[in-house]
Amino acid sequence: MLRIPCPHCGERDYTEFRYGGDASKTRPAHDERDVRAWHDHVFVFTNPRGPHREYWQHVQGCRQWLILERDTATNAVGTARLARDGTPA
């Protein structure tokens, strides 16, 4: 059972969360019109076998969107932070 350390609620089963995919990409500016930029953001992935930065929303908890560090090769879970606090460097 993947256990996700919600910064607000504490460690919980992943079933309380909703997956939001790759969080390593920066979303283009709202008024960006460049198709390639949005294409790469929406459709292209690094999909690493190893450390992965990803979005999860604690939908059955505090409803906050988190950025979680997880290793896709082992499912080892690292730290999580609130997405609203910005992505860690």
Partner: protein, 418 residues
């Protein structure tokens, strides 16, 4: 030299006690090939076979990191069908099903295609309309399809939950009689044996570690067993597409997810069709050995671990009992997970890449196994002619750039929701 398989051959060996030859030659890498195929799974081996058979390209090597067939071709739920909606998908998967229908004879290897029929259930009027649209398209393309109302489903599958207790009552369904199952491992072995017979080198325990480049042209691969030159190189490693593509500096619209499969203890014939639940993604069939085989939805987050999450096991069990209450008493024997390429529209990529002489076949989502023969057939054609086979033109890597996404199920642009 491979020996032809037949009842007679079996009898001869039984009487003389003569030993059987290897099904496929053990081969060591040569310095150069016309085509090097990375990945000894169903698709890679099928591609090699059709390159040799249809295009007389026989200086071909299949490079496999472990042993052949150790990936998804041996981990899937063995379904084959051609009930597809979108122009392009319909023809491609029907081509595949027709190849399945001749495969045992083509390969002289019994892959046990069992056309027992698949029923997709609808649990409401609008869901049945969606199935009707698909069924109509199938019929308009010469593919068998039958629309069933609740009564017809009940006559065919009386053991489904038609009681008052059913949370999502069965409203009807779509039947494709020619759909069914195949003995999955046999597909890899059969293609390997036939390809080897035609001169293809199948090289196991040979991991690709890099690509040999000449400008924007790929001229071979670095492997754990040395450099291998190639006029054309093809990637066919679904599950690890991103990793291998990355060795060539490519980023692709693929994320790797886990799909679990489940099998119960063997029992006498219990379910004679392939049945797909309509309320959630769940399907069931019974293997010839007697085990009930279940499939469900991906676990839902990127992973390469090849082990599933327990709550998903429970979800699948809930669906099984919701569909067939008497399954409750049967016992789950094993569950395992495969690594699946997921794409933003649920459709694959197969064809050329931005790099010259490098070809890619991946992103099959839930459909890799049933696509095996057609994917091999079309990929081989594409490699041989350096031009996409008409059946796969729409599966291009760039399709999202011009807006030609190919969303068969209308699930939107999320790999993890397909």
């Amino acid at each position: 030299m491979t020996e032809r398989y037949s009842a007679l051959a079996l009898a001869r060996h039984a009487l003389t006690g003569a030993r059987w030859p290897r099904a496929w030659r053990r081969a060591d890498p040569k310095p150069h090939y016309d085509v090097v195929i990375i990945g000894g799974g169903g698709h890679g081996l099928a591609t090699a076979y059709y390159l040799a058979k249809n295009h007389r390209v026989t200086r071909v090597a299949v490079l496999e990191r472990a042993v052949i067939g150790s990936g998804n071709v041996g981990r899937n739920t063995t379904l084959v069908r051609s009930n597809y909606l979108l122009d392009g998908n319909t023809q491609f998967f029907e081509h595949s099903l027709r190849l399945w229908e001749g495969l045992s004879h083509e390969l002289n290897f019994n892959v046990m295609l069992s056309q027992r029929g698949q029923i997709v259930l609808a649990h409401g009027p609008s869901q049945l309309d969606v199935l009707a649209r698909k069924g109509n398209v199938m019929r308009l393309n010469g593919i068998d399809a039958e629309l069933l109302d609740r009564g017809e489903v009940e006559r065919l599958l009386p053991y489904l939950d038609f009681s008052e207790r059913a949370r999502f009552p069965i409203h009807g369904g779509l039947l494709q009689r020619r759909a069914g199952t195949v003995r999955h491992d046999a597909v890899a072995w059969g293609y390997a044996r036939a390809a080897s017979e035609l001169g293809v080198d199948i090289i196991e325990h040979c991991e690709v570690t890099g690509f040999l480049r000449e400008g924007d042209r790929v001229i071979g691969v670095e492997t754990s067993r040395g450099r291998i030159g190639a006029d054309r190189t093809a990637i066919s490693v679904a599950g690890h597409t991103s990793q291998v593509a990355a060795l060539a500096g490519l980023r692709v619209p693929v994320e790797s997810h886990l799909l679990q499969a489940f099998v119960t203890e063997p029992i006498k014939p219990f379910v004679d069709h392939v049945i797909s639940f309509g309320a959630e993604l769940f399907y069931i069939s019974q293997s010839d050995k007697g085990g009930l085989v279940f499939g469900g939805h991906i676990d839902g987050f990127n992973s390469y671990t090849q082990r599933g999450q327990f709550p998903k096991v429970q979800t699948v069990a809930e669906c099984a009992v919701a569909l067939i209450p008497s399954i409750s008493r049967l016992r789950l024997l094993r569950h395992w997970a495969g690594i699946q390429d997921m794409t933003p529209d649920g459709s694959p990529f197969i064809g050329r890449t931005p790099l010259r002489d490098l070809y890619l076949n991946g992103g099959w989502c839930y459909q890799g196994f049933k696509a095996t023969p057609a994917a091999g057939w079309c990929f081989a054609h594409t490699i041989a002619h350096a031009e996409a086979h008409p059946l796969i033109e729409h599966f291009s890597l760039e399709r999202f750039l011009d807006g030609n996404g190919y969303d068969e199920y209308g699930l939107g642009n999320w790999t993890y929701r397909q």
